[in-house]
Subunit: 351 residues, 2 copies
């Protein structure tokens, strides 16, 4: 029964990083599977897996996050289980593993009301989230410890290009010629995990360093309920969980993680069609460009059979999984010359 899968984000990967990233993703699954076999619960396994991804300088979360316009690292993360327990952190600095902070918030909620009947917080952001980490024994660090040399280099390059572009724009007002900041030099988006534990409870999580040069304080889908991750145990005892990656503001508007599962459950719709309905063709995104996203979905039937499926409108999506055996990893790619944000590719594995 225990099963874990992770993704390193939906985007466009640098070829030279892929081998190591695959290895990082398999390691994340290995670590989580050890925990799952020990009987740990789904949220702990997700936290272990995503922590491993956060600790890799190659992923855009935790250590190695994209930098803000001010040159700081600010992270979003969230976690959910099929019982409906959820916690998130947004724009938090100086916390080594943002997913650990989200997990601790989740655990704290399970203790019930605080003194004077206060309801434990579900979403914490910024300095207050950092302060809560200190008070609750979640490891904190110097905010600069999350900044890698490579992230700094990319930041300086982006800032320089921004200055050139802004100067040009001041004289030419040529907004139409704007180039995207998230090109090949940029980090990919939100990483995440979907999981079912030995007790048969499903869950999901996400973690993100956000977009390069974002304004400080900006929260993307990884910090917002229903948008970055989703999990639900249905009344027929089937369960579904998802973890979404992509352009944060669009994933919030479409509540992609939740809505794609609603389209899939109990309906004879492919994940590709569900992705088109809920995201690419969603009227709420009419007029938006760069509709780049990807979703990893775990579906467990009442009998316990497991299906892992994925879909993305980005060039690449890197996935690894462990079904109580050896971890495997693979890259899903759009067909050659297909336009990201318009075309999609999808796949599935059954266990």
């Amino acid at each position: 029964m225990p099963f874990i899968a992770v993704h390193a984000g939906a985007g466009k990967f640098n070829e030279e990083d892929v081998k190591e990233l695959k290895s990082v993703c398999r390691l994340a699954c290995d670590k989580a599977m050890v925990k799952l076999k020990d009987g740990c619960d789904v949220s702990e396994a997700i936290t272990v897996a995503i922590s491993a991804l956060e600790n890799s300088p190659l992923t855009n979360c935790g250590t190695g996050s994209c930098l803000t316009y001010k040159g700081t690292a600010e992270c979003d993360a969230s976690i959910i289980n099929g019982k409906g327990d959820f916690a998130s952190v947004g724009a938090v600095s100086g916390v080594k593993n943002p997913i650990v902070l989200a997990h601790q918030l989740l655990l704290n909620q399970s203790k019930g009301l605080m003194s004077l009947g206060r309801i434990p917080p579900m979403c914490l952001c910024g300095d207050g989230a950092h302060q809560w980490a200190i008070e609750n024994g979640v490891p904190v660090c110097n905010p600069d410890d999350l900044i890698t040399e490579e992230a700094k280099e990319v930041y300086l390059d982006h800032i320089e290009r921004l200055r050139r572009e802004d100067a040009k724009e001041g004289s030419e007002q040529c907004a139409a010629k704007r180039r995207k900041v998230n090109d090949s030099q940029s980090k990919l988006d939100t990483v995440g995990a979907v999981c079912i534990d030995a007790n048969g409870l499903i869950g999901a999580g996400v973690s993100s360093g956000g977009i390069s040069l974002k304004h400080t304080g900006r929260i993307g889908q990884a910090g917002v309920y229903r948008c970055g991750c989703w999990a639900k145990r249905h009344s027929d005892s089937s369960q579904i969980a998802s973890s979404a990656s992509g352009v944060g503001e669009y994933l919030i508007k479409t509540q992609l993680a939740k809505e794609i599962t609603t389209s899939l459950v109990g309906q004879s719709v492919t994940i590709q069609n569900a992705f088109h309905q809920t995201f690419l063709d969603n009227v709420i995104l009419a007029g938006c460009n760069t509709k780049e996203a990807g979703v990893l979905v775990l579906h467990v039937s009442p009998s316990g059979s497991i299906e892992l499926s994925w879909v993305h409108s980005t060039d690449d999506m890197l996935i690894a999984y462990n079904s109580n055996d050896k971890s495997k990893s693979f890259m899903s790619q759009l067909e050659e010359k297909a336009v990201p944000g318009i075309r999609t590719t999808a796949g599935w594995l059954s266990f």
Copy 2:
């Protein structure tokens, strides 16, 4: 066609404040209606109305907000229109009118992509939100300027009770005896507005100082998409908007503002039944106490006829409206001896 309605929160009001609060709510509607008659758009009218509520020391938003555990004022606010434009701020300090900041974020999005193809932020929190306000001409203030003498008194009383309770709990572990902090001495929750402008576009907004003694950085429903406010223009050209007030964490989990409108549109369901389905009887809140909330809904038919309806499980909900005439205000109340969080009351007006 232009119509504006506001609420001063769903909760339990101090009798001595009610007269002035009603006057504040009518003034908010008056100000917005002047703007609406001048042809201003729905989001501007909402901002004018909610700013008037924020400026009153009697409401739990802007000036007079409940204080955090650290004694600071941190505000959430969001705004949405029927076209799907949305912006929110969370846990922001030192901004005189948080709704003005949310509105400015909304306007900023309409300018399209920023240089280098960056997507304008939709959700900003904490210091980053304050910084964005400064950079974009949104009036800021000394963080202490939002703290009223009364809020400070309530804070000191709550802190003292918390210390006593925590000491007692340390010795007796009597969690069952915990008293609620949001008793008669506490401020009520999120205020908000629903509106349709002269051009026939609907919208909604909310603003909140959050719960007394909340952890710094905590974001409640007023800062989260779909949870505090919602507005949508449907394909049959009917439009619906809502503004929700109550226990933030529960309103986020149920996405109350959005979900109650989904239950109402195209279905022969009363607002009271819709509230039970989406909130009180929602399985996601199984085991939760204090299910206190209220929602104000504006429904405009394809022919332009307007229905304003409301429902709450709190003792009171204070509402005012202006249908292009003189502003009117009223208090909706649970029947005597009905238990808040379990029983509801509802009503509607047609125009």
